[in-house]
């Protein structure tokens, strides 16, 4: 009467086992889904993941020395800095040969600027030597040791050779050491001279300023978001435009406006002097320092705090507060025990947004930060666009990235990343 008693796999209509047929249908569906997101996936891989990976790689990559001076590097292996002497003739002969090849490809000056990051003077040493070495007849012109030292006495300086030897490996931790105010030396890594230590200080400052900016955004943004979500839709939309308006103004315009307001001959000081709160010869210094950076950046980043807070607060039913009060809670207690916990996901989202944006800012601090209000990103920008020390810039950027990831992990442990809502 029925076939269900039959043992064996359940079959689909076409006779194949149902399980396999289902799998095939699902696989097709998965492939289709993958094909649909493929453009985005490829886009993200090419424009986001690959450049970051490339940047991280640059912070350790150091092939230029061994590629430009291949023979010299091999010959130099037996030389010791402790000998206190420049290397032997064999090294100099190899150098002459390598340099001539490099000069033909115009690579010697590039190597010179690379090594100049580690020791001042190597840039011009290579540039100058290039002009002469070009004309030598190799290998018949030897011996080269005296010729090089006659050309520039720095070739006899063991410290120059130590730099070449130290950086002759394909990969180096030198950039990372530089990024934490350390340097390589014949006896191992050591702290830099105090007159050159700056990056650790800037990392600390970046953290401190970013946290301060996040907190001040929260303190200013919370009441605004609360107000926006508790008034009728029409009014709140209107007020929302006021929140968004600065968002649509150029960053530079907003920053310059703060200059006009905060400088010593600026609007705020003028008003304070006029009403007699401040003496004319003792005007407040509110810009070109940390205060200026905090004020200008809080203003610029405020919408990033208000918007997530607002969208979370909108979903909190006002009846909860009324219910709490009807059961005898004071205003404060009702807010703190009932309303505030429900707004925490918004605080989390807003704070993460503001903090991460703040940590990478450099235009505003450059314009209003003076000397005490600049971020590590200002130095990264300098090394990328001005000194061309991309390796150091990449190392600083990698450390910054690690710091952010560490903080993110910490946040996840304390608050929980599931507890973040954008709306």
């Amino acid at each position: 009467m029925s076939d269900t008693t039959q043992n064996g796999p359940v079959l689909a209509a076409d006779g194949t086992p149902l399980k396999r047929s289902l799998q095939r249908a699902l696989r097709r569906q998965k492939l289709r889904a993958l094909a649909l997101i493929a453009p985005l996936l490829v886009f993200i891989l090419i424009t986001f993941i690959a450049p970051i990976a490339d940047m991280l790689f640059r912070s350790v990559e150091n092939e230029i020395v061994s590629d430009t001076l291949p023979k010299t590097v091999v010959e130099l292996r037996d030389w010791q800095f402790a000998s206190g002497q420049a290397p032997s003739e064999a090294v100099f002969a190899a150098l002459a040969e390598d340099l001539q090849v490099a000069i033909a490809k115009k690579l010697h000056t590039r190597l010179g600027s690379r090594l100049n990051y580690e020791k001042t003077g190597i840039s011009s040493l290579f540039r100058k030597s290039g002009r002469t070495v070009k004309k030598w007849d190799i290998p018949n012109d030897g011996p080269y040791r005296e010729k090089f030292i006659a050309l520039d006495k720095n070739w006899g300086d063991p410290e120059i050779w130590q730099v070449i030897k130290t950086y002759s490996t394909k990969y180096t931790n030198g950039y990372f050491l530089n990024a934490i105010d350390m340097e390589k030396s014949p006896t191992g890594p050591r702290m830099r001279d105090e007159s050159q230590q700056i990056y650790l200080l800037l990392f600390q400052r970046t953290m401190f300023l970013s946290i301060t900016i996040t907190l001040s955004c929260l303190i200013l943004g919370y009441p605004v978001a609360w107000l926006l979500s508790n008034i009728p839709m029409r009014t709140s939309n209107l007020l929302m435009i006021l929140v968004l308006l600065p968002f649509w103004t150029s960053l530079l315009v907003r920053t310059s406006a703060w200059k006009v307001l905060l400088q010593q001959q600026g609007v705020i000081n003028d008003v304070l002097v006029w009403i007699g709160l401040v003496a004319d010869d003792n005007r407040l210094i509110m810009i070109n320092n940390q205060f200026g950076t905090i004020v200008a950046m809080t203003h610029i980043l405020l919408p990033f705090m208000i918007l997530p807070l607002f969208s979370v607060m909108r979903t909190i039913p006002p009846s909860y507060l009324r219910a709490a009060k009807s059961m005898g809670a004071s205003d404060w207690r009702a807010f703190w025990r009932v309303y505030f916990p429900q707004s925490v996901p918004g605080i989390g989202a807003g704070s993460i947004l503001v903090f991460i944006l703040a940590i990478g800012y450099y235009i505003t601090p450059e314009l209003v930060g003076g000397t005490t209000g600049v971020f590590i990103s200002n130095r990264i920008a300098y090394h990328i666009s001005s000194s061309l020390n991309w390796g150091l810039g990449a190392a600083l950027g990698s450390i910054l990235l690690l710091l952010v990831l560490a903080l993110y992990w910490l946040y996840d442990r304390i608050v929980g990343i599931d507890n973040v809502k954008l709306g």
Binding site: T109, S113, N116, L202
Partner: protein, 365 residues
């Protein structure tokens, strides 16, 4: 109706792309603002009038030119044809192999007086890749109404906070500031770099700068000092002489020039390495035209920077809009150039990385 509109748009887009394919596009990179405008009027417009096949596109990326050229070179796709850079950047680009080497005598125009290009430019050919265009200077301007009856005549007024109280603005980098500090600490001009080369000399320069550290507003954009002077925020400040010219002569602010110990610097063209032969030839043709005697003299009608050719100096005339003689406003004018020095490119190419690190550490303290 709608269809015909679409049709017209499509046709015009087609003609546009066809005409631009016919005209040769040339991307010229410069600094923007008044400076680019002076180049447009003195170089680009006459060149396009004489060569109807060329279409010049302006790009205002000179400030990041070195980094961008390096990135373009690594990507194997150089989109710029001619780039305006300061001399120190030209040296850097030449060192990195990112700029084309130029033989001045064969590839640039002879002077109007018949001199060879290499003689006409003289010492200003500071790099094999660099084609000089203007001489500008970094110098001080001061508020005439804030200095009392004794206007400063000497660069050391910057360090004299007793006679000239108030803030000063200095550039946020060691170049120039270290030299001025040493000169005002009693080092002879000729010995400045020998002293600055030593550890003690650097300490000495920083110690001198320490005396005014609390009175300095550090600038990083050329427009900062003119704004600070106009607002009365600083009593004196360093910036490029052309910026001060427009503040004084065009905006009529109570500011005067303090030419003493001005530092000459050069700005000019480079042609990126790695262009196709046709683009390279077109770029060379443009540069040859734009740096001839008359063209360089013409630029001085629009901005107060001195032409880099000796043969252009006698041809400098009046400002195109203001109608004032430009010669007395040139940094190279004998009255202004009584006490000057030239940016020492070789020296700074070596010491820049090291001193910049020390300078930033000093600033942050």
């Amino acid at each position: 109706m709608k269809l015909s509109k679409t049709f017209v748009t499509a046709v015009s887009v087609l003609t546009l792309s066809a005409s631009s394919a016919w005209a040769q596009d040339m991307t010229i990179v410069s600094w923007g603002g008044a400076y680019s405008k002076s180049q447009q009027l003195a170089y680009h417009d006459p060149y396009m009038a004489a060569n109807p096949g060329v279409n010049i596109i302006n790009d205002e990326s000179s400030a990041e030119a070195v980094a961008k050229l390096r990135a373009m070179n690594e990507a194997g796709n150089v989109t710029w044809d001619v780039v305006d850079v300061v001399a120190s950047d030209a040296i850097r680009l030449c060192d990195e192999g990112l700029a084309l080497e130029i033989d001045a005598d064969t590839q640039l125009a002879d002077g109007a007086d018949g001199s060879k290009a290499s003689d006409d430019f003289g010492d200003l050919l500071v790099s094999d890749c660099f084609i000089p265009q203007i001489v500008y200077s970094t110098t001080f301007g001061y508020r005439t109404d804030l200095v009392g009856n004794t206007p400063p005549t000497d660069v050391c007024a910057v360090f004299d906070t007793a006679t000239y109280p108030g803030k000063r603005s200095l550039e946020k980098r060691p170049i120039n500031n270290m030299e001025w500090a040493l000169i005002c600490d009693g080092v002879a001009k000729a010995d400045v770099y020998d002293v600055l080369q030593t550890e003690e000399g650097q300490t000495r320069a920083f110690a001198k700068l320490d005396t005014i550290k609390d009175d300095v507003i550090w600038w990083s954009a050329g427009a900062d000092t003119p704004q600070l002077l106009a607002d009365g925020e600083v009593v004196m400040g360093s910036t490029y002489n052309g910026r001060l010219f427009s503040l004084i002569e065009e905006q009529k602010q109570p500011v005067a020039m303090l030419w003493d110990a001005q530092v000459f610097d050069l700005d000019g063209w480079i042609i990126p390495a790695g262009l196709t032969p046709e683009r390279e030839a077109a770029a060379l043709a443009y540069v040859k035209f734009a740096t001839d005697t008359q063209r360089l003299a013409d630029q001085a009608k629009y901005i107060s920077y001195g032409p880099a050719r000796a043969s252009s100096a006698p041809l400098v005339g009046k400002h195109a809009d203001l109608g004032i003689e430009m010669a007395p406003h040139m940094p190279t004018d004998p009255n202004n150039a009584k006490n000057t020095f030239l940016y020492n490119y070789e020296w700074w190419a070596d010491y820049r990385d090291d001193l910049d690190a020390k300078f930033q550490a000093w600033l942050a303290k």
